[in-house]
């Protein structure tokens, strides 16, 4: 036990003292925040203000411009489309309409000057247009006519969609009014109803969430997998370092491979927990605002994140961590360089990541045969079973069985890894073949 403790302490101390650890711990939250915020900012900025000329051949749609001006730039609520809120704004900027009544003019000739203002080269900045929407004179008479949108970019879909919707609503309103409906009745007739997802659990509880639980499930899957991957690689690097530094002979002559392996894995787990604690403390500030933002966006996260989820998360995190780090440690012991290790481990990791790729079918159908089978396969249990618990209510026996299978597998894996570890640590030079690995496993 003292030896395990010695390895644990050394592993922890030496890793935490590394400058790279400090940099990672302090900078990662900022990087993450930047990764999330910058694209959102860019999207809003990129949309920015869009100057669009509305060339109205009918001369009756002047209120479209007013409606567009009232729309808020809704870029800030990019959180999964904002749940209940109608997605009028979308992740876009503001559209600045320039309404022109062309009912009296000859459309064909009148359009020309506006199209010319789309060109960046020949137009002064304040007169530059980003788009031109042409509403034909016969828009009220002919049901199958087209609105035409001219723009520099062929894929200016968001602006195009918003313009189209605004114009069409105005058209519908006026057509209905023309049939003698009161404006109040028109608004009532045209108001759409949003769809809200309510999950009915077996215990009869009702949970709302829908899009929200999808995002939360994604975040949790990433949290279950990515840290294990990062620390697994760190352990592997350490093992390879010990081999190239030749410390390993001293270590193996002083303790059992199991003591060495457990000390390393636990030491790195402590490093991970330290890092997470720091991040949580730093993130607490941001998370508070994120939570309330999600709340205003119509997402009641508390219905998804009840306390039992935290417990399950810890359980499945540990399982995922032990399986992944064990695999990396074994990988590190059988190779002689990091480059070689990557070659060996990339296919292994792809196999481990199957649930990640199958996330959609698992999430949308958490009790299908595929989901049940995956959640019972030990290496896939952490991610799959956790997600099933999150979005559904798997039968207790399945949860219990998956845990038993996982723990048994981890026990076996650690034992096997310890053996491979011992043999692999001393064998330098060429990588062992599969039959050799098998012999190492069998050797006491």
């Amino acid at each position: 036990m003292r030896k395990l403790w010695a390895v644990f302490k050394r592993e922890y101390r030496e890793t935490v003292r590394k400058p790279s650890f400090l940099v990672m711990t302090v900078l990662a939250p900022f990087l993450m925040a930047a990764l999330m915020i910058v694209p959102a900012l860019l999207a809003v900025k990129g949309m920015g203000e869009r100057r669009v000329a509305l060339l109205d051949g009918t001369g009756r749609l002047g209120d479209v411009a007013g409606a567009l001006r009232k729309e808020s730039p809704a870029g800030s609520s990019s959180f999964a489309g904002g749940g209940r809120r109608e997605r009028d704004g979308g992740p876009a900027g503001k559209i600045v309409p320039e309404y022109v009544d062309l009912s009296a003019a000859d459309l064909k000739n009148a359009v020309g000057p506006y199209l010319a203002r789309l060109s960046k080269d020949s137009t002064p900045k304040e007169k530059l247009l980003d788009g031109v929407l042409l509403i034909p004179a016969d828009a009220f008479q002919r049901p199958f006519t087209n609105l035409t949108y001219f723009s520099r970019s062929a894929v200016d879909l968001l602006a195009q969609e918003r313009l189209g919707r605004a114009v069409n609503r105005a058209l519908q309103r006026q057509r209905l009014a023309a049939r003698g409906l009161e404006p109040a009745d028109v608004d009532l007739l045209l108001s759409p109803l949003p769809v809200q997802t309510v999950q009915v659990t077996k215990s009869g509880q009702e949970r709302t969430g829908g899009e929200g639980s999808f995002v939360v499930a994604m975040v949790f899957m990433a949290l279950l997998f990515i840290p294990s991957l990062v620390y697994g690689q760190e352990v592997m690097r350490g093992v390879i370092q010990e081999k190239t530094d030749r410390v390993v002979e001293i270590l193996v002559s002083s303790m059992t491979p199991m003591e060495l392996l457990s000390g390393k894995i636990l030491g790195m787990a402590a490093v991970g927990l330290t890092q997470m604690a720091v991040w949580l403390a730093m993130g607490g500030l941001f998370a508070g605002s994120g939570f309330s933002q999600a709340q205003t966006a119509g997402l009641d996260l508390s219905t998804i994140l009840h306390p039992s989820i935290a417990v399950w998360f810890v359980v499945f995190f540990l399982l995922s961590y032990l399986v992944t780090v064990g695999a990396y440690a074994a990988g590190g012991s059988i190779v002689s360089s990091e480059k070689e290790a990557q070659q060996v481990l990339t296919p292994v990791m792809l196999v481990f990541m199957v649930p990640w790729f199958l996330m959609m079918p698992i999430l949308t159908n958490p009790d299908s045969t595929l989901s049940v089978v995956l959640s019972l396969v030990p290496i896939y249990t952490p991610m799959t079973m956790f997600v099933r618990i999150l979005v559904s209510e798997p039968p207790a026996w399945q949860v219990a069985l998956s845990l038993v299978l996982s723990v048994a597998t981890i026990a076996f894996l650690l034992k096997a890894t310890a053996k491979i570890f011992r043999a692999g640590l001393l064998a330098t030079g060429k990588r062992p073949t599969i039959p050799e690995l098998w012999r190492w496993l069998k050797a006491a």
Partner: protein, 305 residues
């Protein structure tokens, strides 16, 4: 003289290659035992089985009458390929090496200080290992093997990589430890060094023990006398003289082995006729010669290589 270590008929294969083929010997307290042989003779493999790094395919190693795993904390080991964590600081590293031998770091601080001072490394206690010279790293490694006061010290090629001054320092140190009653087992291919240092000799060749016993006995087992000649002239004929069993003739030095009953005086008379003799000495054969004779063939250069 109490027995500390018994190696009992250990065998180790690497795939189809038999690295160690039934080696047995004992190491006693207060004695320096040398495991001698060429590269590839099985020395390192044998030491690794003693230190518990490898398990023998068959046979047994007993430390203090126990299995290796139970007694490993009383054994200090200096591996052939020295290994330290490059990024660790010297003092931290020594304390770690003691802790994995089951000694709480708090109790080892003074011992670490003593050893670092003895090796003139105390000022460097907070330096990273990688910042030290190779020779100094070796000394840190050696301090790590001795720090926790082991009863048996196993050293694989302790002299390799050390400059002559440090070789002397290590030799003194080992003699001192033996005088304190520790058991020392070292491997080397440098017969001259072994002759100066060891009380007991175990000669291994091709994974087998070819000769073992106290140094004097092993040397005497050569039985016949050896003749060392230094000369000027062409001495190729010496090998063909009657009474000369074998000869290694260099440009101005030759080592002859006499056939049983042959008279060294007759060889001298024959040599005087054709060479200018600078030195003519009848001596007991060197360990090197005993070794070469025991394994049959090869030259001193090959052995030293």
């Amino acid at each position: 003289m109490s027995r500390i270590l018994s190696v009992l008929d250990v065998v180790k294969h690497y795939g189809k290659v038999k690295a160690v083929d039934g080696v047995s010997f004992e190491v006693a307290a207060g004695r320096i035992t040398g495991l001698l042989g060429r590269n590839g003779a099985g020395k390192t493999t044998t030491l690794r089985m003693i230190t518990g790094v490898l398990h023998p395919d068959s046979g047994r190693v007993e430390l203090f009458d126990k299995g290796v795993d139970e007694a490993r904390d009383r054994l200090g080991y200096l591996p052939e390929e020295r290994g330290l964590y490059r990024k660790m600081r010297v003092l931290d590293h020594l304390l770690f090496l003691a802790e994995i031998k089951g000694r709480p770091p708090a109790t080892m601080r003074s011992a670490a200080e003593r050893w670092l001072k003895r090796f003139e490394l105390w000022e460097k206690r907070d330096a990273r290992v990688e910042a030290l010279s190779k020779g100094n790293q070796q000394k840190v490694q050696l301090a790590g093997a001795l720090l926790f006061d082991p009863d048996l010290v196993v050293l694989d090629e302790p002299g390799s990589g050390l400059d002559p001054v440090n070789v002397v320092l290590v030799r003194r140190l080992l003699q001192e430890l033996a005088a304190e009653g520790k058991a020392i087992l070292l491997s080397t291919h440098q017969m001259g060094e072994a002759e100066k240092l060891c009380d007991e000799i175990v000669l291994v060749h091709d994974g087998r023990v070819v000769k073992a016993g106290p140094l004097a006995e092993v040397k005497a087992s050569g039985g016949r006398d050896a003749v060392h000649v230094e000369f000027e002239g062409d001495a190729a004929f010496l090998a063909d003289l009657p009474g000369v069993a074998s000869a290694r003739v260099d440009t101005n030095r030759a080592e002859l082995r006499l056939a049983p009953g042959a008279d060294a005086q007759a060889v001298l008379s024959a040599a005087v006729g054709q060479l200018r003799i600078l030195r003519f000495e009848v001596v007991a054969p060197s360990l090197e010669e005993v070794f070469l004779e025991a394994v049959g063939g090869g030259t001193a250069e090959e052995v030293a290589a």
